[in-house]
Structure formats: C-alpha cells, structure tokens
Symmetry: C2
Subunit: 764 residues, 2 copies
C-alpha cells in the first residue's frame, strides 16, 4: 500500500470550512473524561516516593514498615523492574534507550534529580498511601551534583553516568563524560564564508528549562489480572507507544496490554513517554487490584520533562547588501538526568529558513541533575532560533535593511540545499515573509519605548505509522475510528472533514472517535505536527477504499460493470459517457442494503506516511518596555505561517495562537528556578508564571497555503512552527524599543532591568 | 468479498485442542465487568414505573409531583418516545416492528401486561427514584384480560390490539383478532399419508412460558451529551443491534450512538432486544446527566421476554415397520403482548429430522396479556418438539421398535427435501442416533420406576452480518477484535484459535476482545448459533488477508516475486520448487520491521456469512419417578450432537451440557404462574424454580463432527440444538418408567402425581 498520496487540486466543499467541533460540547460541559476521571471497582490509590536529592547513590531501600501499614496493598521499588540493556542510536537517529527509561521510571543505582521516583505504594486511600511513603527508609549517599550545562561539560564536573562516553566523536573518548552526544553539521567552507563577510555578529545566549505546562497532570489507571492481562487508561499523546513502552519495561507481550486513551488536557510533547504507567501496572500486578496514579502539580514539575535549558553561541556574517555568507552555531543542550535532549532537531532547525553556502553547527547533548527533558512543541527549535534570529536582527540593523527584506534576500525556496543534505521541495517561506510585511500591523506607528521585532521559524513536520478505520453505518452515517490521538487540537473533526469530502456527504454524518490499542494497527505518538498530515492521509486512503467497495456493491446491485460506475457527490452513478445507464444510489441507499448484499462497507488504512512538507512562519511583534520596572508588554502580534492546506482554518489559527502564547510565556516569564541544593524551588503555577489572558494581545493570524505535493489535500502540519519564533521576535522588539539586546531567557522584569542597567553602565 | 469459505480438510495444530479460556480468570476473580459494573461521574439512578394491571387503558399520567421531588432530575413517559409506523413482515420473514417495540419499551395507549413500563424517573439516589415512582399518578381504565393462548384465539376474547388483523390468511379477515399471524406449511398429501398409516397417534400438549433465567439482570448506563452524542454501556447479545434499535426508537442518527458491550452474565436470546436502553438515553437526554438503569429480578421476570407458553396438537401416522407416513401439527404460541412468538422457527424445526412425504404444519402467533416473548435458545423449537417426539415415542412403542431404531428408519440425510422447500446438504443426524445407541449409557439396566427416554432435535443455525479485525502488534502478538458478542460461551478463545491456526502461531499469541460499535462494521446479535460459524469465517478471512500482506511484505523485503513466497508454520518462506531462494521470515520478524517497511499489518472482514450448516442432536435420559411425591429424578443423561467441527471441544461440551440443564429445568419445574388478576405470582428465583447442581447428573457428551462444507473448519454451530430434546426425552422416560404420558409442562411433582392419579382413575 502506498503511503504517500499526491496532492491533486480539486473543488472543495467541506475542507477549508469551519464546522462545529465534535468534541467541543463535552469539553465545555465537563462531560469529557480525562485521565483522572476513570475509576474501577476496588481500585487503590498509588503514590510515588521521590528523591529529595539532586544526586545520590541509593544504598538500600527498606519498605517493610510501609508494607506492614494496614491498607497498604503493594510497594514497588527498583527491584520490581527488570534491568534493560543500553541501546545506542546511530548519528541522526532517535532511539528510545530503555536502559535509561527504566531508570527514569524508577531510580536504580542512583537518584539523579530532585523528584526522581524511588519507590511507590498502592493503598486503599490516598492518606494511607502518603503515610506509607513516609515509612519507606531510603539510605542515600549524597553526591555532588551539577545542573548547569556549561559546568556539566567540564572534565571535572560531577559525573552522572559512569558508563557514558560521548558518542559520535572520533577517536572514542578515553573517559566518561556528561556530554552524551556531539553532533556536527558542516556545509560549504565556514572560514571562507566569514572571510567574505563585511559584517560579523557573534553572541552567546542562555535559556532556562521551561515546562510544557499542560493543565492536566499525568494520570492513569491500571488493572492487571492474575493471568497477566493489563487494562490501562491514561492521558497520552500515543497509546500505542505507551503500550510498547510498558510491555518492554515490564517484559510483557504487547498483546497482553490494552491501552485506552482518555481525553488529554494538553501534552505538547510532554505526554509522549511513560512515567507512572509502568509503576501503576507493577503495583496492580502485585496488589491484584486496580491502581490509580495521578500526579500532583509538584510532581509534574519535578519529575516530568521540561524542555532543555541551553547555552547557545551564534556567529554569522553577511555582506553590506544583506547576503548571509557564514552561519555558525554551537548548541549546548541540557538533557536532564538521561541523554536525549532535542539538540538534533534544534541543530536542523537553527538555520533552515535560509539558503546558505557556509554553515557549521555543533550540538552537544549534556546530562545534568535535572529531570529528563521531554519534547516540547518543535522540540529544541525555539532555543537555537532565539540565538540565530537575534543575530540576524542585529545584522539587518547593522547593514540598515528592513528585517523582513533582509530575510527575503536570504530566504530558502524550492530547490534550496540544506546543510544536512536535504533539498527542499515547494515551500511557502517567502510567502509568509511577504504576507507579514503586507499586514497592516507591520505599519502601525510605534510610540516611545515601543519596538517591533521580526523572527521566523521552521519545522520539518513528520509522517510515521498511522492507522484508521471507517465503518459505514446502516443509515449511511459513518463511524470513523482514529489511532492518532487528538491532542485537543481538533484533529478528530479535521479527519471527519476529509472523510466527508471524499465520500461526498455532510461532515455531520461522520463521527470521529479514538480506538484503543486493540482495534487498530500501531500509531506513532501525535507529535512532529504529524496528526492531520499522516492521520489525514490514512483517512483518505480508508475513504477511497470504501468508495471502491461502494462502487463495486452498486455494480453488483445494478448488474453493470464496475468500470461504468463513478462516485460523485455522495452517489454511485453512471460514469460519464458510459453506455450502461442505471439509477444512481446514494451512500445512504447503499448502506441500507449493504448487510444483505454482502456485508457492511468499511475502509481501513495502516500506513507509514511519507512526504511530510516543511512548515515556515514569520512573526511580527510589537512590545512596550517599562524602563522603571523592566516589564515587557506585548502590544500586538502577527503570525503568517504556511500550513500547506488548512483543513479547518479555525483550528489552524488556534494552533498559531497557542504556539505564540506559549512562546510569549517562554520569552518573558517561564523558568525553572533551582536552589544551590539542586532542588526545584518553583514547582507550582504560583511561582512558575505562565501567561494568562491579560498577558497576551489578540494574535493576528495569516494562513499561507502552499500545498504539500505529498498529501491529498496538500497538508503540511501546523502545530509546532508557531512556537519557534516568539523568543527571538520579542528580544528583537525589545532591542528596537530600548536599544538593549537581551540574550538571557526569560526576559522577565528583573532581567530586563539588569540589562538596561548594564547597558547604561557600559555607556556611562 | 465472498461470504462463504469452503471447508478444506487439513492437518490441525490448534483447532480441536483445549487451551485456557482468555476471559476465564477475570470471571473467576470478579474483575470482569458486567452491565451494572460501570459508573460515570455524576450519574443518576433510573427506575421504571410498571403497570400492576394485565390490561388497562392509560387515560392520563400525571408526573408533576414526581418532577417536583428534590433529587429527581428527569421523568419520561410515552410522550418522550416518538410513535412509529406498523411494519409488517412478509410470510417467512422476521421483521422488527418498531410500532410494537416503542410500545413495549414504554406503554402508549394501553398497559398490556403486569409489569409493562409506564413511566421512568432519574434521580440522584435509588431511594429518591423509588419515592418518585410512587408520586406518579396513572389513571387506568382497567380492561378484561386474557393470558391463555386458546382463550385468546376465541373470537370474543378480550382484544389487545384493535388494529391487528390475522396476517397471511385469505381472504383478509373482516375483524381484528389476537391471532397476529397464521403460518401454514403443506408438503405432499397429508390425507393420503394418514390413509397409508397403520398406526396413528394424536395428542395435545400444553406448555407454560419459561424464562431464559440469565443470572445478570438487564443493566445499562447511558450518557447523552447536550449535542446529542450518546455513550451507552449495556449487557447485550448484540451491541450493533441495540444501537440500531435505540437510534430508531429515539430517531437519532446511528453515528450519534456509541455502544460499549459489557461482559454478559447470560442472555440465551433474552438480550437480543432493548428494554431499558432507550429509556436510560431518554432520561439522560432530559437530565443532562448519565443515567444507570439496572433491573431487579422482579422486573426481569415481569417485563423481559420469557419464551412462549403454547398449545400444540400433533397427529402422526406410521406403518407397522416404523415408516412415518403422515405428520401434522398445530402450534398455537403465545406471543405475549405484541406479535412475534417463535412459531416460525418452531414450525420449521418441528419435523425437520425426518424424511417425510406428507406434512402439514399450522402455526398461530397469538397476542395475550403477558410480557412480550423473547428468543430463548433455539426459539420455539423445544415446545413443538416436545409434542412431536412424544408422539414418535408413542408410535415406536406401539409398533414395538426401539426408539432410536425407529428414528433411524425415518432419519433425514443429505438430499432429504424438507416440507418448507429446503434440500438438506451433508448432515450428521444419523451419526448422532448411532452414537447415542452405541453409548454405554444406552445399555445400563434400569430398576423399578426407572425409565429411559429418547428424543432428538434440529436447529438450522445461522450466518448474518459479522465483522472483525486483527492487528499484528510490533512483537508479533496479535490483537483480534470481534464484533460478535461472546455470550459467555467462550467464542473469544475459539476465534483466537482459528486465527492462530491460520497464522501458524501459538494461540497464546492471539488476544481476542470485543470492539464497541464504532470500531467495526455492523454485527448481528449472537443468536441462532451463529457466533463461531459466522465469527469464525470472518476471522479466517481477516487472517488470510493478513497472510497475503505478510507475504507481500516479505517479497518486498527479500526482493523476490510474491508468487515465490508461501506462508507455512508461521513463516513466509520460499514456495516449494521456487527458483527464488531467500531466508524465511517469521511473523514476529516481519512484525518487528513492519512499521518501517510500509506500516503495520492488519486483516479485516465485513461479511454476511452464508452457508450455515444444520445441527442435529440425539439425547437419551434415564429417570426415576417417585410415585408417592411425583418427583422425577434425572439419573443419567447422554447427548450426541453434530457440530460440524468442535473448535474448542470443552466449550462445545459446555454448550451441550448447558442446553440440557436448561431443558431439564424447563421439563421439570420452570413455569410462569399467573393469578386470576393477570399478575405474575412468582417473579423471583425462590418461587420460579431453576435447576441447581443437585438436580442434574453429570451429562455425558458425544461430539459428532460431520463438517459443514460452507465453513473453512467445517463449523455448524452448537449452542441451540441441545435444549430442544430434553422436554420430550424426559416425558418419554417418565412414560417408560411408570406408563403414564405427560403432555403438560412442567412435569413437576404435582402434575406428575395428578397424571398418575388420572391414569389410575382411567384404569379403574
């Protein structure tokens, strides 16, 4: 089965409209069931004991007192999880290393960060479970810790993993290091590029980890039967991947685990991997009762993946007429306690917006005593781009060219060769730049202490394994079952729209829902902006399969050759010019007799979708800086992004706005604050400041549609690009407003004030 | 797609063995979730107000006081259900008449039986709901009622339905009648047949309604959202059929209802149709909260379908050498309050075991003021066969021929033309007779007051719409999803066995489960012994589709033509004699790389299975009659039945034994007892006596396997035949024991005593 369907321009009736959201009402009324909304008779409450130390050897764990507490039904520690071999990825590949995953799920030799799971209990009530945690005695040998990425890279830094030697460097290092991997991309002649440059800008940037900030904490409910069958309800971006991970971690057969995805209250990359799920299963297996495990917000912050904090060095050169001649970056990314930061995609996305002859990128993936990072919307990209787009802004200002014009002069287009070996197909980057420049917001006059900033973003988007099924009901309505989770973006309705478009029926006739893991073939997590691209391709394949069956059925009923039947406007009818005339049959008419004429009609798809189309965005922001307090107020915001095709424009606009809002939070306020003891000091929404409604203006959206040739409707994907540019755009706007360049994130009032003072000092 | 796969003899590794039951442990531990085991946050408790009158016009219903009771969130009556047009079936067809169904779900113009639903409430607690029922004022005009089938057929009987004219009689009757339908089957020349007869026996039989007696009362949970989306959990034999029925009754689109089948604690035909489901949905729709509706046992007896009580007249003639020359029967079946008894299948099964030249069968479907009957295992057949096999026994005794020998002389075989137009294919009836005769039980010497009885049964078995999907997991295990409910007979494991056999892997690698209604195409109810026949055919089709994909994938990976790849023993390997040699790949090896080589591999089937093979059984029972008390003790029991092929012999034996036990209960003790007021007097297991373990001996089973040519493994179906013969076999055994023929069911101690007394009186 082909896993790419080419784009074909056609008249559209449903795709591109804005029908009502199928999962909307239940979410508004509170009827929708999230991870914590599931219960089973006789269930226990699970609680996890977490390390208070950033780095400590675990000498022993004594659970006997906890086990004796009445109401405690099971206690698990590292002894309940089998060890796993180390799995190394080839350069450029991403492999889940279960040696690490099992250690992150439950600390083994060492606790590696404040919040690291050390033991877990299941008890008949939450209060008993909490009491039991206090009775578990862990004998820690406290070790020196390191949380700063530059500190961690030093040869004499406290070492997290004795077995970890930096990968992809030759010769193989002779001693272990916190640098887990060193990536390098070379293109052209970087030295020659700098020699050609008339202007060179070099800057160093530092960012803090920020959390995905999903409103719903991780929550799951596991029931393990005496014969080893597991039912698992969980809030996840990918129930098939969670099934795989649990099966691997607990050494079970995949078929023995059935995962029911719940509604998900946000994920943004943070719910791509398991935390409590294998723990809940292990507890249930021991207790012979269902176990519910719901994280507190404190646990979410301390133990689930934030994105990397990083140190980024960027050096670029250009000619006076604004042609970039050299682009160099070093990206040092915190991985948290286990290798696997997003430095690879960050390295790729750093410069991929420009047609560059000379590029050099180095990426370091560095373990530190912090929670293992997880993906966060365009993983890693915003950090590197913060640096690159800040430097470009500075170059444009130095050569006196409008920032959009400067970018247009260097913009990548179809045929551009990237520095990592990819030749770009048709893309819409220049169109986003032009659209942003044309928008009225780009010409609004600015007042004192106000400034305008421009920045751009790129994401490659993704395909991967995807499946779906559609079943035509006896009244001609359609049940569409999706295997790729709708991470609250509205993809269910978007999929229903594509199916309705194909079948030629109203979108209200197609009801989309999720399957559990038994009912469809494997689906990758909803990540990489793959949902509507890959899911949509599967839906179109399934719909077209159903149409072929509908045509065949009508050919049988009307006794005509199938070649003479065409499907149009929801009907099987005589093909144009066919000698065989017959009364057309609508989908509802066929459905009514389907049972008696051979069985109901269905379509299926199990694919590995290929041909994802890269997405680009240009963002323009106006800010006003309060020189007294350092407060940066966002006045207006414009985003133009190429999505290939907006199936449901309102959802696309929502993705644009959501990404921008998260980017604003990242830029201005969010950060993990650690004490000298290596403990997280702000694990809650009171002290970790995410943007609220009053922090953000209305965000103007411009949808650019340059069709992806490798999708039947031209879809590229739209979820991630929007978060990439805000940090840089806001830094550039601040610089325009007050002439001070911020290279530290977040650009919170104290940091802005400090930068103003430093600038004043240097001028004085 | 072909919906018949021909039988092919082959060496079997899994089919025919007895692996462990996949749903067994959860049922033993109590983890399995039945209808009443589901709860939703904020759910209300629904309760139904039922008519205390057997027949009454409903002048008005005042729900205002109930609605005002604090805690009551919704009240529904007939006004909440749209009326439906009358739908008549053609002769020989079975059509669900929604005009009746909506009236059975909620009484409209009249209450037609004691227990008929008249209103329902949803409240925050059960006690409030019960209180609310008492506050509903129903103004009844009590009408004369009729519960006896013969009384109801009289022209001056109280009439249930003014619009009901007897169907299928010409000329069309000029006045309405309680006889809803009159069926007639004529074959040969019945008068000539009786003229040829040297012995004629004519008898009249009467039976009482008996209940299916499932341990789990009907239970459901409905949640209707503000935008009209319904989630429904229910204990059902067919979730797709329940979805259809609810959609029709509430005039909703099918796609708006998602039905999740729960484990089912017995159905036996009684859970083929909705009762509380549309009521719960209507309540939830009104209350905007989930509503749980669980019947009490009293409600189950009063308001859900028992089988028909009946009056049966049988007249047969034979020659002295035991050749049946004429067979005549009149079957008068109670339909309950609405037309639709099982008199049609009863008419067909009455004589279909014998090759007969002259047959005349009349069947009347008669409405009476009793709960509407429902299907019960081989619907209707045991009643008619009670009469026919009793008369045959009497004939055999009169001509002095062994009862098995007598039946062998008349037995139907391949090619026999039935009296309703069907020519029988290969069948195993004679083999069951011979097997029973050969069994040691047939030669055990009998003591005083002990007797041996023989009787036989036939069921046509069925196919119908069926679907399934199988998904090959990444570790080579298989998730098999079934749309046809496992009504606790073990069909899940049987299906897994057929899939494992096809794929060439262990049955422990295949995990079977049920889908909800969104995930597969329409499935008919599990009824007519269709589960393993039709479901198995779907599974084989899906497995073979998957095998084709597996072969194609290996051809692609190994770069060989697909024709050179064969599937054997769980491997794709070079076809015998092929020039293309390559390393074989096991299913697990292919599964591991499936994602990266084109997507996961699945198989699907949506079929209308054709070619069900008729099933036959011969049963032999020994009883001892206590002449003082009238108690009949069953000493030993033997059943030989042709199932075509026993996929899992233990489940087949279980079906044999279960059917026999239910037949013993029916024969000896079970009955609905009504008062003169038309009210049911024994709606509970204390007064309605079902057999318990001490009532039944070990039941010896003989599996006969004459393959059904229209099933890949030769399956016929096995669930129903076993219940058909016990009533007749026991009556025949009693006659052998004490020389008294019982023609009234149940043959309970008082009736047996009465018959003994009557016989003594007539002799005196």
């Amino acid at each position: 089965m082909s896993t790419t369907i080419k784009y074909e321009e056609k008249e559209l009736k449903i795709v591109g409209t804005r029908p009502i959201r199928q999962d909307g009402v239940d979410k508004v009324t509170g009827r929708a069931r999230y991870g914590a909304d599931y219960d089973l008779p006789g269930q226990l409450i699970g609680k996890v004991l977490r390390s208070p130390h950033a780095h400590a050897r675990i000498r022993s764990i004594d659970t006997s007192a906890a086990e004796s507490l009445p109401g405690v039904k099971a206690v698990v520690t590292r002894d309940d999880f089998p060890d796993m071999p180390v799995e190394y990825a080839a350069a450029g590949e991403i492999v889940v290393n279960f040696f690490d995953v099992t250690r992150n799920v439950m600390a083994r030799e060492k606790a590696l960060y404040d919040g690291h799971a050390v033991a877990a209990v299941a008890a008949t009530s939450e209060s008993i479970a909490k009491q039991a945690l206090k009775l578990i005695k862990v004998d820690y040998e406290i070790l020196p810790h390191v949380i700063d990425v530059i500190e961690a890279m030093k040869p004499d830094a406290p070492l997290l993993h004795e077995h970890q030697y930096t990968q992809y460097v030759t010769p193989k290092p002779d001693r272990p290091s916190n640098i887990a991997r060193r990536l390098e991309f070379k293109h052209g002649d970087i030295a020659a590029g700098f020699r050609q440059a008339e202007v060179v800008v070099e800057r160093e940037f530092n960012t803090k980890p920020v959390h995905q900030g999903y409103i719903e904490p991780q929550a799951c409910l596991a029931s393990c039967s005496e014969d080893g069958q597991v039912d698992l309800w969980t809030s996840t971006q990918g129930h098939f991947v969670f099934r795989s991970q649990c099966a691997k971690l607990l050494q079970m057969e995949v078929s023995k685990i059935r995962v029911m995805p719940t509604e998900i209250g946000g994920g943004f990359g943070g719910k791509n991997t398991v935390y409590g799920e294998p723990v809940a299963i292990a507890l249930s297996r021991k207790a012979h009762r269902p176990v519910k495990l719901v994280m507190t917000r404190d646990e979410v912050f301390r133990a689930t993946g934030p994105t990397s904090g990083a140190n980024v060095k960027v050096k670029m050169g250009c000619t006076k007429d604004g042609r970039i001649t050299a682009a160099q970056a070093v990206l040092n990314y915190q991985a948290g306690a286990f290798a696997g930061s997003s430095v690879l995609p960050a390295s790729i996305s750093a410069f991929t917006r420009y047609a560059l002859d000379n590029v050099h990128v180095v990426g370091n993936d560095v373990t530190v005593n912090r929670p293992k990072v997880a993906a966060y919307r365009a993983p890693g990209a915003p950090i590197g781009v913060f640096g690159v787009e800040s430097v470009i802004d500075e170059m444009a200002k130095k050569v006196g060219i409008d920032p959009i014009e400067f970018r247009l002069r260097n913009a990548a287009r179809e045929g551009t060769q990237t520095y990592y070996g990819l030749k770009l197909g048709p893309i819409g980057f220049m169109q986003t730049l032009e659209a942003a420049r044309e928008h009225p917001n780009y010409r609004v006059p600015l007042g004192p202490n106000q400034g305008r900033g421009v920045a751009t973003g790129f994401w490659s988007n993704a395909g991967h394994e995807t499946s779906c099924a559609l079943n035509i009901n006896e009244d001609g309505t359609v049940a569409l079952v999706l295997g790729t989770i709708d991470v609250a973006g509205g993809s269910r309705t978007a999929m229903a729209m594509m199916v309705a478009e194909e079948l030629g029926i109203g979108v209200d006739k197609v009801r989309a829902s999720h399957s559990d893991t038994t009912e469809l073939g494997f689906n990758f997590v909803t990540a990489g902006s793959r949902g509507t691209f890959a899911g949509g391709m599967a839906c179109v394949i399934a719909a077209r399969e159903a149409i072929e069956k509908l045509k065949a059925r009508v050919a049988k009923i009307r006794e005509v050759p199938i070649e003479t039947v065409e499907w149009k406007d929801g009907q099987a009818r005589p093909a144009k010019g066919s000698a065989h005339q017959f009364a057309p049959m609508s989908l509802a008419e066929i459905a009514k007799v389907a049972g008696k004429t051979g069985g109901t009609i269905a379509g299926h798809a199990e694919i590995n979708a290929q041909g994802a189309g890269p997405g680009f965005a240009t963002q323009v922001v106006d800010v006003e800086v309060d020189r007294e307090t350092g407060l940066v107020k966002v006045l207006r915001y414009t985003i133009a992004q190429d999505v290939g095709k907006a199936i449901h424009p309102a959802y696309v606009e929502g993705q644009f706005q959501g990404g921008v809002v998260q980017g604003i939070g990242w830029a201005l306020n969010e950060e993990y604050v650690y004490g000298a003891d290596g403990r997280l000091q702000n694990p809650g929404f009171l002290d970790y400041r995410m943007p609220v409604a009053s922090d953000v203006p209305f965000i103007d959206t411009i949808i650019v549609e340059v069709p992806n040739p490798n999708h039947p409707y031209g879809v590229r994907g739209c979820g991630e690009v929007s978060i990439i540019a805000p940090m840089a755009a806001i830094a550039n706007a601040i610089e325009s407003a007050i002439g001070v360049r911020l290279c530290e994130q977040p650009m919170s009032p104290p940091r802005v004030l400090k930068a103003i003072d430093a600038a004043a000092g240097s001028k004085a």
